[in-house]
């Protein structure tokens, strides 16, 4: 009998065909983070991942989406049902966002990107479609390959389709900012800000929830510092993602071993190195 997670979606099978079983190969999204982890080997063939939202179930809080779909398109569909996801919407694709693995600057409210990937289907170095995880919001069925794929820069597998966990958009939202209030003071004052950071001497906070609670939290914030209601921060008002922390030789060796086990000939996204990202 066939395994229940096996796919017969012709679109995915065709993508696997394109990856083939040999030769250097990479996937491009919208190239918004194209050079992270190093320049792509010039010999590599460049493919695009399949596109389209396959199945969105608002009451399960899950969306099956092909990796080449833009995050913007996915989020537009979710918003129609009052939902969103932890994927950063910055001009890229679902597969690109997962491969890069940076979280949205509002991750306190939306969740970290690595927690939103419930199931992944990717094409392996052998040109096979591999599925891992599952369609439910809770799952410990075997080794957690979805975790491995988030932030993998396409070096272990080329992502074809993902199941993303969605979340309801809270009824009310307000941004506030104030000069020079330590983030710890804000974190202690309010219950659960959806975003909280300091940038160039200004502290930014997003409060979300039921309208009356948001109003109450705004009052609390104004007592703890010189906060004003403001529009959501624009590009210049947010810090660039913090540089990643280097790992020691033991962990580096483990990373290298994983890469060798998944892609012994180094054909997937050659030139990118997760340890150099």
């Amino acid at each position: 009998m066939t395994a229940l997670l096996a796919t017969s979606d012709p679109v995915l099978l065709e993508f696997a065909e394109l990856v083939r079983t040999e030769g250097k190969v990479a996937v491009e999204g919208n190239r918004t983070r194209w050079d992270v982890g190093g320049m792509l080997d010039a010999e590599a063939r460049v493919l695009s991942a399949p596109e389209g939202i396959v199945d969105y179930k608002p009451d399960e809080m899950t969306a099956v989406v092909r990796a080449g779909t833009t995050v913007a398109e996915l989020h537009a569909a979710l918003a129609e049902k009052g939902q969103r996801s932890a994927l950063p919407e910055r001009g890229g694709t679902v597969g690109g966002a997962l491969a890069v693995g940076e979280s949205d600057f509002r991750s306190l409210g939306r969740g970290l990107i690595r927690t939103c990937l419930l199931q992944i289907r990717y094409v392996s170095a052998e040109g096979r479609i591999i599925s891992s995880g599952g369609p439910t919001v809770k799952n410990v069925s075997g080794f957690d390959l979805p975790r491995l794929m988030v932030g993998s820069l396409g070096t272990l597998g080329l992502m074809a389709e993902a199941i993303i966990r969605t979340n309801p958009i809270p009824p009310a939202s307000q941004w506030l900012s104030a000069p020079g209030v330590p983030t710890r003071v804000v974190a202690d004052a309010v219950l659960a800000p959806s975003s909280l950071y300091e940038h160039e001497g200004t502290t930014w906070v997003q409060i979300e929830g039921h309208a009356a609670d948001v109003t109450a939290e705004i009052a609390v914030l104004k007592n703890s510092g010189d906060f004003d209601e403001v529009d959501a921060p624009d590009e210049t008002q947010r810090p660039a993602p913090a540089p990643k922390i280097a790992v020691d030789a033991v962990v580096s060796a483990l990373n290298d071993q994983i890469k060798r086990n998944f892609d012994p000939d180094g054909r997937l996204n050659p030139g990118r190195d997760v340890l150099a990202a």
Partner: protein, 491 residues
Amino acid sequence: MLERLRALRGGESETSGDPAIDALRAVLGDRAKLDSARQALHSHDASVFEDGNSGPVCYPETTAEVQAIVRIAREHQRSIVPRGAGTGLAGGAIPLGAPVVVAVTRMNEIFEIDEDKRVAWVGPGVINLDLTRQLQPRGYHFAPDPSSQQVCTIGGNVGNNAGGPHCLAYGVTNAHIVAMEVVLPNGEVAMLGSVDGETLGYDLRGVFVGSEGTLGIVTKVAVRLTKNRPEVRTLLLSFDSVTDAAQTVSDIIADGIVPAALEVMDHKITVAVENFVNAGYPRDAAAVLLAEVDGLSAGVDIDAERIGEIGLSNGATDVRLAGSEEERALLWKGRKTAFGAIAQIAPDYYLHDTVVPRSALAGVLEQIYEIADRYELIIMNVFHAGDGNLHPLIVFDGREPGVLDRVHAAGGEIITASLEAGGVLSGEHGIGVEKQKFMNLLFTDDDLDHQNRLRQAFDPGCRTNPGKVMPVGHSCADIQSLKRRPTGVWG
């Protein structure tokens, strides 16, 4: 749990005649134990599966000692199995092939509570509830709250990616582990993740959580602190049918509410609990739904009211809001002592664990009742309905001849029914030895081969918790040869 009769005899032998044991004793002294009583005690966990056989049982107190144990085992080509409190229900801590059992229960120190970074560094042997009790006065708690939280360890929670009633809103263990120190199967110490931000490389912290002790031994954990919620509302809704309760759960989620907890108990378990603790549950309801919302005062009232309305529109016969902290505590006591309550019905139980899409809950429950009838077994249901996590509880008397075969057959059908409804094998107990043979139902050989590649990157020799998770036919899964203690091993 099966009542096990054990010979509590035997003692430490002075000279072992086994160089591996001598080496372990040189490091650990009398904390390396090789007496038959202790080995018997560590040959099983809380599951119903056949006992394994334990080699020496070691109680390290430091990372350096864990590292020494792993190196000695490696040098003498013995395998190891990490162990916490042994409350696992999938057999993850059952020793196969006489491995060194590394019981981390003495590594139970809370090293540091860092409120700036909102993390606490703790030993893997810290008991889940003890951690939350230490955090409470400062206004925090550790969010995963398995029903076994009075005894299970943080290391075991990491091993199984444990969940609990309140993981609906806050996420399971993986969302609450920021970093950890582990001793790898090659004996090196590695720090996975960081409390200071994202690290370069693959998310090894993420893949370690839920790996059931097969990738190494956790020796220190940085857990995320969750701020206590100022306001909580707890509702008890009663229904004439399990289907109505399940529909209510789906509708609550579809309405955009993310409750802190949504727990369903069916008639049989409700009556058992009521007889046991008098929690104030209705004895005549076909199902009760325990719903909790937390947060700030305005939102919890709005959400609680809405949940009541959704329940009534689905035919709830009663909606009750806990009027006091005592009443709330009593309602939860009922839920959390459900497993103790069933002891009055039959001496043994087998607690299953599958997840299905919420919309499939009612249909799969119907199939479970039908399976129970067919196998002439009592099956009760108490489960984390909010995330579709079913916990069918088969109660039986293990002394009845042949009953265990029926229990396993019925369990197999429950798993198949869950998978066919679009579900997965486990929500929080893991695969262990319980569900290896079902892995092929879900995953292709290629899928399993890739899982194995991850495992082998950590443990190429398959010496860390061998015979678990991967089904027979894949390397690291060859349990046949592990069933019996190889002659000559451990004297």
